[in-house]
Amino acid sequence: MSARVLVGVKRVIDYAVKIRVRPDHTGVVTDGVKHSMNPFCEIAVEEAVRLKEKKLVKEIVAVSCGPQQVQETIRTALAMGADRGIHVEVSGKDYDALGPLQVSKIMAALAKKEEADLIILGKQAIDDDCNQTGQMTAALLDWPQGTFASELTLEGGMLKVVREIDGGLETIKIKMPAVVTADLRLNTPRYATLPNIMKAKKKKIANVKPADLGVDVTSRLEVLKVDEPPQRQAGVKVETVEDLVVKLKEAGRI
């Protein structure tokens, strides 16, 4: 099989970090804070690598959009088994305002340029929780989509995707080329081993600007304010049911 897979990897604040809002309420503190690959993107890379190990896919290209630092994230994908990387340079205000619509335009343009047969993305990023990029990319390319995938199999040019949905599991068959977004139970991603990290240093990362792909990254959204969720108030203990009813009435709840 000569399939080429495009995997999107996003650099986000590490899931274990306690997030703090910036004093000016324009966003969260990112300076000096540990960043790593979005966990759902790790799952996406792992799935691509497993497809390659089963010889169902020939080449894995890892893509990330952002400033210089996202190259670390691409390197991690290379250490996990991706073959080469593409760094789409976006920085400054453009990077702060970068969202699913612009990223999906970039992914669509790259998919055409690289003649990709499959795009695997994480279902959502843990910083914005948008859950839109995969779906928008499929729409822009007019490709079928298998989102929230918990199982992925290639069966003769078709993709069988088991999706996690509210009612349980849904199995669909879609034609390739297609977009798949990875859900939590798709696989357990491997740790990048030290020998593989060393080998990954020799793999190539190409630099590209959004303009080169004909994509305008201006955002139509403006963040007005970022606040922490309200602090949880202490509860009040009451002795009797009558007291409870009185208190609920006082609070205007009943």
Binding site: S36, Y191, I197
Partner: protein
């Protein structure tokens, strides 16, 4: 002279009962209330708790020893706070008990004389990672799994794996070990430096502040004095650890044997053949039976070895084939191996669930793990004698062991409400420890002395060594405030 006299004081139990600091403080007396307000002035209201639930939570670990709650629990956020709080405790002669994750197995956190528990979980930063030097410094709130998750994109890991997701500084305090020790060593070999707060608030850097050479011959080895001191010499507030590269490949294998002797012989020969085996675990027939029943497996009910190999993908085949040949020559059968993560997990599930499988043998009972360690050549003899002891005393004690180190655990499943059984288990564990000591071994390979093995420590190292230990304790903690009643 003063040191000698102080050392003498601790060797006489009658003297201890007479001294004022052994009076159990109650949170209601004025003295403790004054102290609490001083503690609050350092750590704030949220940093000091006298709530019963919080105190009980900090008075127990995962051992069978009963809960002994402290009078107060403090939650310092920095080493300066720890030092200030310790000074207050020192001034008021209050016992100090360091608390990491409460996952210990020897009752090390019980506040036998009341006092102040220092819960260190708010100090949870990974500091100073040096990838090319393979070292990292962590605070007490960082756990083993937390660190390995933090390191996941660096290709490095900290391999000491005692099973529980324990605090790394706590692991240093108990000199923890685990299934990987045969290849990567225990905490003793992997702690480069410690920052410790002594009972009087002094902050000590055991190898010098910030130092992290891979080896040194500078002065007395203070770092390893504190490793394994179980909170009786100071509060560990930073640990500098040796890291390793995550191996390119991991392969797991299982093999059944006709006898304990053949399993141990295979182990020795595998080590002698120079196979850099990472894990080599022994399960006896009783344990395998329990695992079969718990997990619906069908391993042959006979002594079994679970093995794990780490290395480059090319070396895996060679390691596995050498090992398979050795096991076959020793009468081993049903050699099975797996490389991908899910199959390896299935293969090792029996070993991972051993504790629960043992508990499931007698629902409603509790489990206590013994922990002796002997030279590998004596392992077959001690296991055979121990199994005879179990059978003749009608005790449930499936055996799981780190056979590459000569260390094994009998998971004693007992009904805590049956005083006869409790007594029989207690006598059994004493006999087992003495059996190990008679074979040039130790009464505790990994879990520590804690509360229950102090008499055995004396038998193991001898009265002279105990006096030296007491002298060191008296030098570092003359008022005996650090975790009193443990180890010595």
């Amino acid at each position: 002279m003063i040191l000698f006299r102080q050392a003498l004081r601790f060797s006489s139990p009658r003297l201890q009962l007479a001294c004022g600091r052994c009076r159990r403080y109650s949170a209601k007396t004025g003295a403790v209330e004054r102290v609490i307000s001083e503690l609050r002035s350092v750590s704030g209201d949220e940093g000091v708790s006298v709530g019963l639930a919080v105190r009980e939570q900090h008075g127990r670990d995962e051992s069978v020893h009963r809960c002994q709650p402290p009078d107060v629990v403090v939650f310092p956020r920095s080493v300066d706070e720890v030092s200030a709080l310790a000074k207050i405790c020192h001034h008021h002669q209050l016992p100090i008990i360091p608390f990491g994750t409460g996952t210990g197995l020897e009752g090390g956190v019980g506040a036998l004389q009341g006092g102040v528990c220092f819960s260190l979980r708010k100090m949870d930063q990974v500091l100073d990672l040096h990838q090319e030097d393979f070292d990292v410094t962590v605070e007490p709130g960082v756990t083993r799994k937390g660190l390995n998750s933090y390191l996941r994109d660096t290709g490095l890991w900290f391999p000491v794996d005692p099973g529980a997701d324990a605090s790394l500084c706590g692991m240093a305090a108990t000199s923890a070990s685990g299934t990987n020790a045969v290849r990567y060593g225990t905490m003793r070999e992997n702690v480069l430096n410690l920052e410790v707060v002594l009972a009087d608030g002094t902050v000590l850097h055991t190898a010098g502040r910030g130092r992290r050479p891979r080896k040194t011959s500078a002065g007395y080895n203070l770092t390893n004095l504190f490793v394994g001191s179980e909170g009786t010499l100071g509060i560990i507030t930073k640990t500098t650890l040796r890291l390793y590269g995550i191996p390119e490949s991991m392969v797991s294998a299982v093999c059944s044997f006709p006898s304990v002797q053949s399993a141990v012989d295979s182990t020795v020969q595998i080590l002698q053949a120079g196979v850099p085996i990472a894990r080599i675990e022994f399960l006896d027939d009783v344990m395998i039976n329990a695992c079969n029943r718990f997990n619906n497996l069908s391993y042959a009910v006979t002594p079994t070895l679970f093995l794990e190999f780490h290395g480059s993908s090319k070396s895996m085949e060679e390691q596995v084939s050498i090992t398979e040949e050795i096991t076959r020559d020793n009468g081993g059968s049903d050699f099975a191996w797996a490389e991908d993560e899910e199959s390896r997990g299935r293969l090792w599930k029996a070993r991972h669930d051993a504790w629960y499988a043992a508990l499931a043998l007698r629902p409603g009972c509790k489990a206590y793990s013994t922990d002796v360690c002997v030279p590998i050549s004596r392992l077959p003899q001690i296991i055979v004698e121990t199994k005879e002891d179990l059978i003749s005393n009608n005790l449930t004690g499936p055996i799981a062991g780190h056979v590459g180190d000569g260390n094994f655990h009998c998971i004693m499943v007992l009904d805590p409400n049956d005083p006869d059984e409790v007594e029989r288990v207690h006598s059994f564990t004493e006999r087992l420890a003495r059996r190990a000591l008679a074979m040039d071994g130790t009464c505790t390979g990994e879990h520590g002395i804690g509360l229950g093995k102090r008499a055995l420590l004396r038998e193991e190292v001898g009265p002279l060594a105990i006096e030296v230990m007491k002298g060191l304790k008296a030098t570092l903690d003359p008022k005996n405030l650090m975790n009193p009643g443990k180890v010595l």
